[in-house]
């Protein structure tokens, strides 16, 4: 799998290509609408959903407010339970730490649980450069990895692939795929089961992320469906978990909120099939926890943007977003697609590249994402705030300055409107030069014969 970082193009260019792909649009529509429906059903079952959501939001905000204290508390608790804690300022440092830890075991192969944090830092590629092969074990991640592809959804990363494409990938890239493999989902899942089983039993080192870490007890929590997570967390002798510093919860009790919010928002189930929790070194295993910053403290410093750190990666916002549904995950050029990606990626990476600067515009600001977010992240608010921070093109800045000047004084606006009405026949349907970007996708509004204020003045007199 390749890393997203440095991907060419910007969101408009990427999405323009994506919307031409009818298979992709069909797959995405089916997926997002199915999960969205399931979510609505199980969320509707809980009469106290609003109260859970309010608690979830407040717990996360409280944690972020005292993140320094809780990180230290977590570190002590993990160490007390026999685990080792490492701190990584950025992707390079985290990759170096993990690579050294794997090397110390003498192993050259590791199994991996699906983890957004390790995708964010490009861990698999870094390990490969140092002679260590990382095997993804989540079915969708396996499909993405074997297909040398990018994940396109937080929850179902291979959702852009249909069954016959998956069959082709397995036959071409999975050495032990049966020759008579059909494209039945059950047959494909069985092939993956057999392919990975021996690897699970053989592997001495596993790498995971975590959905939550509990400061009070030092406990890590992983939610999953397939059991590949349990395999990785349970069987190998060494477990290395790479976790963003914002994944903390203060107390064990706080799980009572998040174990209700996350499964229902994410897969639309009352509970996901498997949740594992462990505290420090468990059943004789060596445990390393790598705490990752990689831009998170910068996000934390932004009063508006810091709410993005409440995110629990449920992907509910992707499934309701009209833009994601049509553009697909790859257009966002990041492991975090969809509305949350549009606010998280440019904050984590900065607004320096064309792609990152275009992400705050990958939205119609319809607000559906805010409504379904289990921790009430006001994504439209952050999008608008980021738009104000993006460097704007000269033509746009000049246009805004003129508009500001005209709108500042009533007489100027009246004069401008009269002028516009008189020359309305001369206004082109499409604007020239850099302004054409605006009219490429919109019609210019017709200029009326007279402005409202003129009409009002005339009728007042009459």
């Amino acid at each position: 799998m390749s890393v997203f970082i440095g991907m060419p193009g910007d969101f408009p260019a990427n999405s323009a290509k994506a919307v031409q792909n009818s298979q992709l649009r069909f797959n995405l529509r089916k997926a997002t609408h199915t999960i969205r429906g399931k979510r609505a059903t199980v969320v509707g079952e809980l009469p106290d959903w609003a109260e859970l959501r309010a608690a979830g939001k407040a717990i996360k905000d409280h944690t972020l407010r005292h993140l320094d204290r809780y990180l230290v508390q977590l570190e002590e608790a993990v160490q007390r339970a026999g685990g080792q804690v490492h701190w990584a300022r950025d992707a390079a440092e985290a990759n170096r730490i993990v690579t050294d830890l794997v090397r110390q075991t003498g192993e050259t192969e590791v199994v991996k649980v699906k983890s957004m944090a390790t995708q964010e830092i490009g861990l698999n590629e870094h390990l490969a450069e140092h002679g260590i092969t990382a095997y993804e074990t989540d079915l969708a991640e396996l499909i993405v990895q074997l297909g040398d592809d990018f994940p396109s959804h937080i929850l179902v990363p291979a959702i852009h692939r249909n069954r016959s494409e998956i069959r082709e990938i397995f036959l071409a890239k999975m050495g032990d795929a049966p020759a008579d493999l059909t494209d039945e989902p059950a047959a494909l899942a069985e092939a993956a089961r057999l392919h990975l089983r021996e690897r699970f039993l053989r592997s001495k080192v596993a790498i995971s992320g975590a959905n939550f870490m509990i400061a009070e007890t030092g406990t890590c929590v992983v939610l999953e469906s397939e059991g590949n997570g349990r395999m990785c967390l349970t069987l190998p002798e060494t477990l290395i978990s790479v976790v963003g510093i914002e994944k903390l919860l203060p107390t064990w009790r706080d799980l009572e909120v998040f174990l209700q919010l996350l499964p229902r928002s994410s897969t639309g189930e009352r509970m996901n099939p498997y949740t594992s929790t462990w505290t420090g070194s468990t059943e004789g295993q060596t445990f390393h926890l790598v705490l990752l910053d990689n831009g998170r403290t910068n996000v934390l410093a932004d009063e508006v943007g810091r709410q993005a750190l409440r995110c629990i990666r449920c992907s509910a916002c992707l499934n309701v977003c009209p833009v994601y549904e049509r553009a697909g995950g790859h257009a966002y050029g990041s492991v975090y697609p969809g509305p949350i990606g549009a606010i998280l990626t440019p904050q984590l990476r900065g607004l320096g590249s064309d792609l990152d600067a275009s992400l705050p515009y990958a939205s119609t600001l319809c607000g559906a994402c805010f409504e379904v977010c289990p921790v009430a992240i006001d994504i439209p608010e952050v999008l608008v705030d980021l738009r104000a921070k993006v460097a704007h093109p000269r033509a746009e800045r000049a246009g805004m300055r003129v508009a500001g000047w005209v709108l500042a004084k009533e007489v100027r606006l009246a004069k401008a409107q009269r002028l516009a009405s008189r020359f309305r026949k001369l206004v082109p349907k499409r604007l020239p030069g850099p302004l054409s970007a605006w009219t490429d996708t919109r019609d210019l509004p017709d200029i009326p014969k007279e402005s409202f204020r003129e009409w009002w003045a005339r009728n007042e007199r009459a």
């Binding site: 109260e51 407010r65 998956i166 089961r193 699970f200 064990w252 009352r270 996901n272 910053d293």
Partner: protein, 189 residues
């Protein structure tokens, strides 16, 4: 400067002057239910697991019946008998495992294992293809908050809601990827 110090310093600087946040806990922490056992059984069934509810006196016979012909791992704390017991070191070739549980949750149809004597280490309920779990009625709580309160975080916990499943291929649900493909639950009343 160490990474630890640098990160903690950046955090402190970032949140300096930020307002304190009160945590409202107005959600339900107990959910009264008339018939917890029936509710639990219905929710387990929803996951396409096999579920039985019967008086404790009849459990041994049912256990014997459903494990017939299966080479079973049985942790030492389990008092029920099966015909063919295999030792733990034959985990890879065993057909199934028989366990108890720590807590069960009615609302979500979840059983929670805490590696107690009647459950054994975590791999036992993971590697074999068949998991038979006997739940006592008094182990069933109504909702997630009550379960969290009953559990000990210092123990490794495994929350199980139905058999292993994936929806990664065109969102078609397929049961049994890496964990047991069959989960059978007996509620002993």
């Amino acid at each position: 400067m160490s990474a630890r110090k640098e990160i903690l310093d950046k955090v402190r600087k970032a949140v300096e002057g930020a307002p304190e946040v009160e945590i409202p806990r107005d959600y339900r922490t107990t959910i009264p239910h008339d018939d917890l056992v029936a509710h639990f059984a219905e929710r387990v069934d929803d996951y396409r697991a096999i579920v039985h509810v019967l008086p404790s006196a009849e459990v041994p016979a049912l256990v014997a019946k459903v494990t017939e012909g299966r080479r079973m791992i049985v942790p030492e704390g389990v008092t029920l008998a099966v015909a063919q017991v295999v030792p733990e070191d034959e985990l890879l070739t065993a057909d199934g495992v028989l366990t108890g549980c720590a807590v069960a949750i009615a609302e979500t149809g979840t059983i929670v294992l805490d590696a107690g004597p009647d459950q054994g280490r975590r791999a036992l309920t993971l590697v074999p293809d068949y998991h038979l779990c006997v739940v006592r009625a008094d182990q069933i709580v109504s909702g997630v908050p009550e379960a969290v309160a009953r559990l000990d975080p210092s123990r490794p916990l495994t929350w199980i809601s139905g058999p292993s499943a994936t929806s990664d291929i065109e969102l078609n649900r397929v049961e049994g990827v890496h964990g047991p493909r069959t989960l059978e639950v007996i509620v002993s009343t």
